[in-house]
Symmetry: C2
Subunit: 267 residues, 2 copies
């Protein structure tokens, strides 16, 4: 029929398991004055009366709503305040946090998309921006070859934050650069000349829009472009022999800046 201890009150452990919280939680609520046991034993043990346990349950209800403990204390101690006011505030705060989390999810999605697809534009948009000579399959191919490098990660970061408008501006400057390269080659500019080195640096800087391209990386890129029939076809359509000439001015530029192009490695 219930022992004497129960009629006087429950110890923390009993009250805690009764309410489905931990002992530490009740200690904490006692410390901050949210729920203090109405009695103590001679030895200092907390004793929770039925009313105390009921208060714990009331606290739990508001805690499930995400209210801060301070507000809960005010709510429970206020004699007859309109509880819908803090509840409406809480509702607004929750909705605010949800919308911010949702925008985070959207951003994460864009980032995953950038890392996967390599570009955040549909095939149609790609053709519209980069011109008809652009093959959207190149984006996939690039991911297959470079997708595991830190540079690709860096590229994905930047791509995730770019709009089609940004892409258009980049495409414009790239097209200008390609025209300048073709004009220089036609004009007979020699690799290693000041003009050629300036163009090589402009080319490296344009790659910098995607990731931080060092001189050795630049050399590797120039050579792998030259070895790739697809790239050759693209560049040579602008100006015959442009791919090899570009590789040569990149090599010469690197050499002039103290890098041996023949021992350049990607990393």
């Amino acid at each position: 029929m219930g022992d004497a201890a129960e009629s006087d009150g429950l110890t923390v452990g009993a009250a805690a398991s009764h309410a489905g919280v931990t002992v530490r939680t009740l200690h904490h609520w006692d410390a901050i004055g949210l729920v203090r046991p109405s009695g103590r034993t001679a030895g200092g043990y907390r004793l929770y009366s039925a009313a105390d346990v009921a208060r714990v349950h009331r606290v739990l209800i508001y805690r499930e709503l995400g209210l801060p403990l301070d507000d809960i204390g005010e709510l429970l101690d206020a004699p007859a305040v309109d509880m819908t006011v803090p509840l409406r505030q809480q509702r607004a705060q929750l909705l605010d946090r949800i919308s911010r989390l949702q925008s985070m999810v959207d951003a994460v999605d864009r980032m995953i998309e950038a890392a996967n697809a390599g570009i955040l534009l549909s095939a149609e948009e790609q053709v519209a921006i980069f011109g008809q000579r652009w093959d959207p399959a190149w984006a996939e191919g690039a991911r297959d070859r470079w997708g595991e490098t830190p540079q690709w990660a860096q590229y994905a970061e930047r791509a995730a934050g770019m709009t089609p408008e940004d892409w258009r501006r980049i495409a414009d400057s790239v097209a200008t650069l390609e025209n300048d390269l073709a004009a220089a080659k036609r004009a007979g500019v020699r690799p290693g000349s000041a003009e050629a080195n300036a163009l090589a640096e402009r080319h490296r800087a344009s790659i910098g829009a995607y990731f931080d391209c060092t001189l050795p990386m630049h050399v590797c890129l120039g050579r792998s472009h030259a070895a790739d029939p697809g790239f050759r076809a693209y560049y040579d359509a602008i100006e015959p022999g442009l791919t090899f000439w570009l590789r040569d001015i990149i090599d010469a530029n690197a050499r002039d800046r103290g890098i041996d192009p023949d021992s350049a490695t990607w990393t």
Copy 2:
């Protein structure tokens, strides 16, 4: 054309305003090793190189995704790890947090509804559960009269967590109680008798389903019910004179338990 300091690096303040963060943030990121400036002046000032600032920007990108700083550090330092793995994890975590927040919003809505309407059932549901003699307008009237009391707040807490099924069980036990009351009155049970007191306590306990009803509160309730034509009509339809008899057994029960019913107040 840029001062010497700029070529060597930026001070914290400059780097901070450059990246749109506070100085304290850069201090913190330095302390935890996330972004440490690559140099210091003779006097100990932090000097952020262009590469350092770039790293700050990369950190910002991932911070906007809600990633913890530790994870960001790993991402940036990992040589060629697949970044979609932590991103997918992050996405899952975000969705999880959103759904929990959403359930909080739902709970808050239920609570507001309970505090406003007084009951979380439509008028049709109320009639279906409490029977045709129940007038849904009573719920509104009750809120108008009691809506500002702490007992109403407590009632709203409990109502917010109740399902129609819960209401049905309560309605059943109330109906049983009313029948027992009517039977006892017909049988000539006298107020103050053990049987009458037991019934009064059962009645008080049934109110306890809504809020903690003390003996003085019980007395006040019995008297205000007796004074209300609507309540009288409801109870007297069960058994003529039941309202007054109920008030009397409540008064007697309170007196037998040491409460003077004539000086009982609500609070």
